[in-house]
Protein backbone atom coordinates (compact mmCIF):
# COMPACT_ATOMS: atom_id res chain seq x y z
CA UNK A 1 0.00 0.00 0.00
CA UNK A 2 2.71 2.42 1.07
CA UNK A 3 4.75 1.54 -2.01
CA UNK A 4 1.92 2.29 -4.42
CA UNK A 5 1.17 5.65 -2.85
CA UNK A 6 4.77 6.78 -2.29
CA UNK A 7 7.52 5.10 -4.36
CA UNK A 8 5.31 4.21 -7.31
CA UNK A 9 3.39 7.47 -7.24
CA UNK A 10 6.61 9.26 -8.22
CA UNK A 11 6.58 10.16 -11.93
CA UNK A 12 10.35 9.95 -12.33
CA UNK A 13 10.45 6.43 -10.86
CA UNK A 14 7.48 5.29 -12.92
CA UNK A 15 9.01 6.69 -16.13
CA UNK A 16 12.21 4.83 -15.30
CA UNK A 17 10.32 1.57 -14.72
CA UNK A 18 8.41 1.99 -17.97
CA UNK A 19 11.50 2.50 -20.12
CA UNK A 20 14.81 1.44 -18.57
CA UNK A 21 14.13 -1.89 -16.85
CA UNK A 22 11.91 -4.96 -16.94
CA UNK A 23 9.71 -4.55 -13.85
CA UNK A 24 8.38 -7.54 -11.94
CA UNK A 25 6.19 -7.68 -8.82
CA UNK A 26 6.18 -10.80 -6.65
CA UNK A 27 5.13 -12.13 -3.27
CA UNK A 28 8.60 -13.32 -2.26
CA UNK A 29 7.01 -15.78 0.23
CA UNK A 30 6.63 -18.04 -2.83
CA UNK A 31 9.93 -17.51 -4.62
CA UNK A 32 12.12 -17.92 -1.56
CA UNK A 33 10.54 -21.34 -0.91
CA UNK A 34 9.77 -22.83 -4.29
CA UNK A 35 12.18 -25.52 -5.50
CA UNK A 36 12.10 -24.80 -9.19
CA UNK A 37 13.54 -22.58 -11.91
CA UNK A 38 11.60 -19.51 -10.75
CA UNK A 39 12.69 -19.92 -7.14
CA UNK A 40 16.30 -20.75 -8.09
CA UNK A 41 16.66 -17.55 -10.11
CA UNK A 42 15.10 -15.35 -7.42
CA UNK A 43 17.28 -16.84 -4.67
CA UNK A 44 20.37 -16.41 -6.84
CA UNK A 45 19.69 -12.68 -6.93
CA UNK A 46 18.48 -12.23 -3.33
CA UNK A 47 21.36 -14.26 -1.88
CA UNK A 48 23.72 -11.51 -3.03
CA UNK A 49 21.73 -8.88 -1.11
CA UNK A 50 21.41 -8.18 2.61
CA UNK A 51 18.43 -10.49 3.17
CA UNK A 52 19.15 -14.11 2.39
CA UNK A 53 17.59 -16.13 5.18
CA UNK A 54 15.30 -18.09 2.88
CA UNK A 55 14.08 -20.47 5.59
CA UNK A 56 12.62 -18.17 8.22
CA UNK A 57 13.14 -14.56 7.27
CA UNK A 58 11.54 -12.26 4.74
CA UNK A 59 13.58 -11.12 1.74
CA UNK A 60 11.19 -8.31 0.92
CA UNK A 61 12.45 -5.14 -0.71
CA UNK A 62 13.27 -3.54 -4.06
CA UNK A 63 16.01 -5.24 -6.08
CA UNK A 64 17.92 -4.44 -9.25
CA UNK A 65 19.69 -7.27 -11.07
CA UNK A 66 21.13 -8.14 -14.46
CA UNK A 67 19.47 -10.80 -16.60
CA UNK A 68 22.36 -13.14 -15.74
CA UNK A 69 21.43 -12.88 -12.05
CA UNK A 70 24.10 -10.40 -11.02
CA UNK A 71 22.89 -8.32 -8.06
CA UNK A 72 22.99 -4.58 -8.75
CA UNK A 73 21.19 -2.97 -5.82
CA UNK A 74 18.65 -3.22 -3.02
CA UNK A 75 16.62 -1.04 -0.70
CA UNK A 76 13.72 -1.66 1.61
CA UNK A 77 13.14 2.07 2.04
CA UNK A 78 10.01 3.59 0.52
CA UNK A 79 11.27 7.15 0.20
CA UNK A 80 11.31 8.03 -3.51
CA UNK A 81 14.66 9.80 -3.10
CA UNK A 82 16.27 6.73 -1.48
CA UNK A 83 14.85 4.50 -4.20
CA UNK A 84 16.12 6.82 -6.96
CA UNK A 85 19.59 6.77 -5.43
CA UNK A 86 19.55 2.96 -5.39
CA UNK A 87 18.45 2.93 -9.04
CA UNK A 88 21.18 5.40 -10.03
CA UNK A 89 23.87 3.31 -8.34
CA UNK A 90 22.53 0.11 -9.87
CA UNK A 91 22.54 1.56 -13.39
CA UNK A 92 26.18 2.58 -12.95
CA UNK A 93 27.03 -1.08 -12.30
CA UNK A 94 24.83 -2.48 -15.07
CA UNK A 95 26.53 -3.76 -18.27
CA UNK A 96 24.17 -4.59 -21.16
CA UNK A 97 25.91 -7.79 -22.23
CA UNK A 98 24.39 -10.73 -24.12
CA UNK A 99 22.66 -13.15 -21.77
CA UNK A 100 20.88 -16.42 -22.45
CA UNK A 101 17.18 -16.65 -21.74
CA UNK A 102 16.47 -19.02 -18.88
CA UNK A 103 13.89 -21.71 -19.44
CA UNK A 104 11.41 -23.31 -17.07
CA UNK A 105 13.06 -26.65 -16.37
CA UNK A 106 10.75 -27.57 -13.51
CA UNK A 107 7.80 -26.10 -11.61
CA UNK A 108 7.14 -26.66 -7.93
CA UNK A 109 3.41 -27.50 -7.82
CA UNK A 110 3.15 -26.42 -4.17
CA UNK A 111 3.77 -22.83 -5.20
CA UNK A 112 2.36 -22.72 -8.72
CA UNK A 113 -1.27 -21.80 -8.16
CA UNK A 114 -3.77 -21.26 -10.95
CA UNK A 115 -7.41 -20.27 -10.78
CA UNK A 116 -9.89 -23.19 -11.05
CA UNK A 117 -10.94 -24.08 -14.57
CA UNK A 118 -14.56 -23.18 -15.17
CA UNK A 119 -14.67 -21.15 -11.97
CA UNK A 120 -14.69 -17.43 -11.33
CA UNK A 121 -12.22 -14.81 -10.18
CA UNK A 122 -13.76 -11.99 -8.18
CA UNK A 123 -11.88 -8.83 -7.24
CA UNK A 124 -12.16 -8.00 -3.54
CA UNK A 125 -11.32 -4.52 -2.27
CA UNK A 126 -11.62 -3.24 1.29
CA UNK A 127 -11.57 0.22 2.83
CA UNK A 128 -11.91 1.57 6.35
CA UNK A 129 -14.73 4.09 6.05
CA UNK A 130 -14.01 6.09 9.21
CA UNK A 131 -12.87 6.05 12.81
CA UNK A 132 -9.22 7.03 12.47
CA UNK A 133 -7.83 9.91 14.49
CA UNK A 134 -6.72 12.81 12.30
CA UNK A 135 -3.01 12.87 11.59
CA UNK A 136 -0.45 15.00 9.75
CA UNK A 137 1.73 11.93 9.19
CA UNK A 138 1.65 11.30 5.43
CA UNK A 139 2.43 7.58 5.78
CA UNK A 140 -0.42 7.13 8.27
CA UNK A 141 -2.73 9.05 5.96
CA UNK A 142 -1.87 6.60 3.17
CA UNK A 143 -2.87 3.63 5.35
CA UNK A 144 -5.99 5.38 6.58
CA UNK A 145 -7.31 5.95 3.05
CA UNK A 146 -5.96 2.74 1.51
CA UNK A 147 -8.04 0.52 -0.75
CA UNK A 148 -6.81 -3.07 -0.51
CA UNK A 149 -6.96 -5.73 -3.23
CA UNK A 150 -7.30 -9.51 -3.16
CA UNK A 151 -8.98 -12.09 -5.38
CA UNK A 152 -11.73 -14.55 -4.50
CA UNK A 153 -11.58 -17.86 -6.34
CA UNK A 154 -14.85 -19.69 -7.01
CA UNK A 155 -14.79 -23.35 -8.10
CA UNK A 156 -16.56 -24.68 -11.17
CA UNK A 157 -19.26 -26.43 -9.10
CA UNK A 158 -19.83 -23.31 -7.01
CA UNK A 159 -20.07 -21.27 -10.22
CA UNK A 160 -22.74 -23.64 -11.54
CA UNK A 161 -24.66 -23.44 -8.26
CA UNK A 162 -24.67 -19.64 -8.26
CA UNK A 163 -25.80 -19.56 -11.88
CA UNK A 164 -28.66 -21.85 -10.84
CA UNK A 165 -29.67 -19.49 -8.02
CA UNK A 166 -28.11 -21.30 -5.06
CA UNK A 167 -25.38 -19.84 -2.86
CA UNK A 168 -23.12 -22.76 -1.81
CA UNK A 169 -22.18 -23.03 1.86
CA UNK A 170 -18.58 -23.71 0.87
CA UNK A 171 -18.40 -20.36 -0.90
CA UNK A 172 -20.11 -18.49 1.95
CA UNK A 173 -17.57 -19.97 4.34
CA UNK A 174 -14.62 -19.05 2.06
CA UNK A 175 -15.85 -15.48 1.69
CA UNK A 176 -16.32 -15.19 5.44
CA UNK A 177 -12.99 -16.72 6.45
CA UNK A 178 -10.67 -15.23 3.84
CA UNK A 179 -12.34 -12.14 2.41
CA UNK A 180 -14.29 -10.45 5.21
CA UNK A 181 -10.99 -9.20 6.61
CA UNK A 182 -9.31 -5.85 7.14
CA UNK A 183 -6.27 -6.04 4.85
CA UNK A 184 -5.96 -2.27 4.39
CA UNK A 185 -2.79 -1.96 6.51
CA UNK A 186 -0.97 -5.18 5.52
CA UNK A 187 -1.34 -8.94 5.67
CA UNK A 188 -4.41 -9.67 7.80
CA UNK A 189 -5.15 -12.60 10.08
CA UNK A 190 -7.74 -14.81 8.39
CA UNK A 191 -10.69 -16.16 10.37
CA UNK A 192 -10.56 -19.71 11.69
CA UNK A 193 -13.59 -21.83 10.84
CA UNK A 194 -14.52 -21.79 14.54
CA UNK A 195 -14.56 -17.98 14.44
CA UNK A 196 -17.28 -17.90 11.80
CA UNK A 197 -20.21 -17.54 14.18
CA UNK A 198 -22.87 -17.17 11.50
CA UNK A 199 -23.23 -16.83 7.74
CA UNK A 200 -26.43 -16.50 5.78
CA UNK A 201 -26.11 -15.88 2.05
CA UNK A 202 -29.04 -16.13 -0.33
CA UNK A 203 -29.74 -15.50 -4.00
CA UNK A 204 -33.15 -14.48 -5.25
CA UNK A 205 -33.23 -13.81 -8.96
CA UNK A 206 -30.54 -11.26 -9.53
CA UNK A 207 -30.25 -10.16 -5.89
CA UNK A 208 -27.65 -11.50 -3.44
CA UNK A 209 -28.08 -10.75 0.24
CA UNK A 210 -26.20 -11.95 3.24
CA UNK A 211 -25.13 -11.45 6.79
CA UNK A 212 -22.10 -12.71 8.68
CA UNK A 213 -20.94 -12.62 12.26
CA UNK A 214 -17.26 -13.25 12.88
CA UNK A 215 -15.43 -13.20 16.19
CA UNK A 216 -12.34 -14.61 17.84
CA UNK A 217 -12.92 -16.58 21.03
CA UNK A 218 -11.31 -13.84 23.09
CA UNK A 219 -13.31 -11.12 21.34
CA UNK A 220 -10.17 -9.19 20.41
CA UNK A 221 -11.28 -9.13 16.75
CA UNK A 222 -14.78 -9.21 15.31
CA UNK A 223 -16.83 -8.20 12.27
CA UNK A 224 -20.60 -7.95 12.02
CA UNK A 225 -21.48 -7.37 8.39
CA UNK A 226 -24.35 -7.21 5.90
CA UNK A 227 -23.94 -7.98 2.22
CA UNK A 228 -25.96 -6.87 -0.77
CA UNK A 229 -25.29 -7.38 -4.45
CA UNK A 230 -26.55 -8.28 -7.86
CA UNK A 231 -25.78 -11.08 -10.28
CA UNK A 232 -26.36 -11.46 -13.98
CA UNK A 233 -26.13 -14.77 -15.79
CA UNK A 234 -26.11 -15.76 -19.44
CA UNK A 235 -26.29 -19.33 -20.73
CA UNK A 236 -25.64 -20.79 -17.29
CA UNK A 237 -22.64 -18.59 -16.57
CA UNK A 238 -22.23 -15.66 -14.24
CA UNK A 239 -21.28 -12.66 -16.40
CA UNK A 240 -21.70 -9.90 -13.83
CA UNK A 241 -21.39 -9.97 -10.06
CA UNK A 242 -21.19 -6.81 -8.01
CA UNK A 243 -21.54 -7.03 -4.24
CA UNK A 244 -20.70 -5.00 -1.16
CA UNK A 245 -20.13 -6.03 2.44
CA UNK A 246 -20.53 -3.26 4.97
CA UNK A 247 -20.37 -3.53 8.72
CA UNK A 248 -18.67 -2.91 12.01
CA UNK A 249 -15.13 -4.24 12.52
CA UNK A 250 -13.14 -4.41 15.72
CA UNK A 251 -9.46 -5.10 16.31
CA UNK A 252 -6.38 -5.71 14.20
CA UNK A 253 -3.65 -8.29 13.65
CA UNK A 254 0.09 -8.72 14.00
CA UNK A 255 0.77 -7.16 10.60
CA UNK A 256 -2.21 -4.79 10.52
CA UNK A 257 -1.57 -2.72 13.64
CA UNK A 258 -2.97 0.77 13.88
CA UNK A 259 -6.68 0.12 13.39
CA UNK A 260 -9.08 2.79 14.64
CA UNK A 261 -9.95 2.56 18.32
CA UNK A 262 -13.09 0.61 19.14
CA UNK A 263 -15.50 -0.55 16.46
CA UNK A 264 -15.11 1.06 13.06
CA UNK A 265 -16.88 0.85 9.68
CA UNK A 266 -15.24 -1.47 7.14
CA UNK A 267 -16.64 -1.87 3.62
CA UNK A 268 -15.59 -4.50 1.08
CA UNK A 269 -16.50 -4.62 -2.61
CA UNK A 270 -16.71 -7.73 -4.77
CA UNK A 271 -16.51 -7.38 -8.56
CA UNK A 272 -16.33 -10.16 -11.13
CA UNK A 273 -12.91 -9.96 -12.80
CA UNK A 274 -12.64 -9.79 -16.57
CA UNK A 275 -8.92 -10.59 -16.78
CA UNK A 276 -7.99 -7.09 -17.89
CA UNK A 277 -6.60 -5.90 -14.57
CA UNK A 278 -2.93 -6.41 -13.72
CA UNK A 279 -3.86 -8.12 -10.45
CA UNK A 280 -6.50 -10.52 -11.79
CA UNK A 281 -3.95 -13.36 -11.99
CA UNK A 282 -2.77 -13.07 -8.40
CA UNK A 283 -3.75 -16.06 -6.21
CA UNK A 284 -5.90 -15.25 -3.16
CA UNK A 285 -3.89 -14.36 -0.09
CA UNK A 286 -5.79 -17.04 1.82
CA UNK A 287 -4.55 -19.76 -0.57
CA UNK A 288 -0.92 -19.06 0.25
CA UNK A 289 0.70 -22.15 1.68
CA UNK A 290 -2.34 -24.40 1.55
CA UNK A 291 -4.55 -24.20 -1.52
CA UNK A 292 -6.68 -27.15 -0.34
CA UNK A 293 -7.46 -25.25 2.85
CA UNK A 294 -8.75 -22.35 0.77
CA UNK A 295 -10.39 -24.22 -2.09
CA UNK A 296 -11.15 -27.82 -1.02
Amino acid sequence: MIDRESTFADKEIVNFLQSRVIPVAIDQWFQRRQKDSEGDFYRRIASQGPRHDFESGTTQGLYMASADGTFLGYTNNRSPERVKEMLRQAMLKFRPVATEQLTVEREDPRYTLTAPTGGLIVRVQAKVMGGYEETDDVMKQIFQTALSRDNLWVSQSEHSAIAAGRFPKSLALRIARFHLVDNTRGEPPMWRESEVVKTNFEIDGTVVRGHAELSTASGDRSYSVDLLGELRTEDGKVVEWNMVASGSFFGDGRYTRGAPQGKFPLAISFTLADGNDIADDIPPQGSRGWLRGYLP
Partner: protein, 81 residues
Protein backbone atom coordinates in the same frame (compact mmCIF):
# COMPACT_ATOMS: atom_id res chain seq x y z
CA UNK B 1 -43.04 2.49 -22.23
CA UNK B 2 -46.70 2.52 -21.24
CA UNK B 3 -47.87 3.41 -17.71
CA UNK B 4 -49.14 -0.18 -17.29
CA UNK B 5 -45.74 -1.61 -18.11
CA UNK B 6 -43.99 0.79 -15.71
CA UNK B 7 -46.40 -0.17 -12.90
CA UNK B 8 -45.87 -3.85 -13.63
CA UNK B 9 -42.09 -3.42 -13.54
CA UNK B 10 -42.30 -1.53 -10.24
CA UNK B 11 -44.52 -4.21 -8.69
CA UNK B 12 -42.17 -6.95 -9.92
CA UNK B 13 -39.16 -5.16 -8.43
CA UNK B 14 -40.97 -4.63 -5.11
CA UNK B 15 -41.98 -8.28 -4.68
CA UNK B 16 -38.68 -9.48 -6.10
CA UNK B 17 -36.64 -7.62 -3.45
CA UNK B 18 -39.17 -8.26 -0.70
CA UNK B 19 -38.82 -12.01 -1.17
CA UNK B 20 -35.21 -11.92 0.03
CA UNK B 21 -34.50 -11.64 3.78
CA UNK B 22 -33.96 -8.03 4.78
CA UNK B 23 -30.46 -6.73 5.40
CA UNK B 24 -29.43 -3.38 6.78
CA UNK B 25 -27.65 -2.45 3.58
CA UNK B 26 -29.86 -0.42 1.24
CA UNK B 27 -29.60 -0.67 -2.52
CA UNK B 28 -28.53 2.97 -2.85
CA UNK B 29 -25.76 2.43 -0.29
CA UNK B 30 -24.64 -0.72 -2.10
CA UNK B 31 -24.28 1.14 -5.40
CA UNK B 32 -22.51 4.10 -3.79
CA UNK B 33 -20.05 1.92 -1.87
CA UNK B 34 -19.36 -0.36 -4.81
CA UNK B 35 -18.47 2.65 -6.96
CA UNK B 36 -16.31 4.13 -4.20
CA UNK B 37 -14.42 0.90 -3.62
CA UNK B 38 -12.89 0.70 -7.09
CA UNK B 39 -9.26 1.59 -7.81
CA UNK B 40 -8.35 4.81 -9.58
CA UNK B 41 -7.69 3.72 -13.15
CA UNK B 42 -5.14 6.49 -13.65
CA UNK B 43 -3.00 5.57 -10.62
CA UNK B 44 0.63 5.84 -11.73
CA UNK B 45 1.73 2.44 -10.38
CA UNK B 46 -0.88 0.80 -12.60
CA UNK B 47 0.79 2.22 -15.72
CA UNK B 48 3.94 0.16 -15.11
CA UNK B 49 3.99 -3.03 -17.23
CA UNK B 50 4.54 -5.32 -14.24
CA UNK B 51 5.35 -8.96 -14.83
CA UNK B 52 4.54 -11.45 -12.09
CA UNK B 53 7.31 -14.01 -12.67
CA UNK B 54 11.03 -13.34 -12.37
CA UNK B 55 11.72 -15.94 -15.07
CA UNK B 56 9.34 -14.22 -17.49
CA UNK B 57 11.05 -10.93 -16.68
CA UNK B 58 14.51 -12.50 -17.18
CA UNK B 59 13.56 -13.75 -20.64
CA UNK B 60 12.55 -10.26 -21.76
CA UNK B 61 15.49 -8.61 -20.00
CA UNK B 62 17.93 -10.92 -21.80
CA UNK B 63 16.52 -9.98 -25.20
CA UNK B 64 16.18 -6.25 -24.53
CA UNK B 65 19.49 -6.08 -22.62
CA UNK B 66 17.86 -4.30 -19.71
CA UNK B 67 18.18 -4.96 -15.99
CA UNK B 68 15.36 -6.38 -13.89
CA UNK B 69 13.62 -4.37 -11.21
CA UNK B 70 12.05 -6.68 -8.63
CA UNK B 71 9.34 -5.44 -6.24
CA UNK B 72 9.35 -8.28 -3.71
CA UNK B 73 6.98 -8.08 -0.77
CA UNK B 74 5.28 -10.19 1.91
CA UNK B 75 1.87 -10.61 0.35
CA UNK B 76 1.57 -9.80 -3.33
CA UNK B 77 2.40 -6.14 -3.99
CA UNK B 78 -0.22 -5.92 -6.74
CA UNK B 79 -2.72 -7.30 -4.29
CA UNK B 80 -2.71 -7.51 -0.54
CA UNK B 81 0.04 -5.23 0.73
Amino acid sequence: MSRTLICAAALFAFFHLAAVPAADLAEEEFRQLHAELQPAKDALWRTVPWKTSVLDAQQVAAVEKKPLFIWAMDGHPLGCT
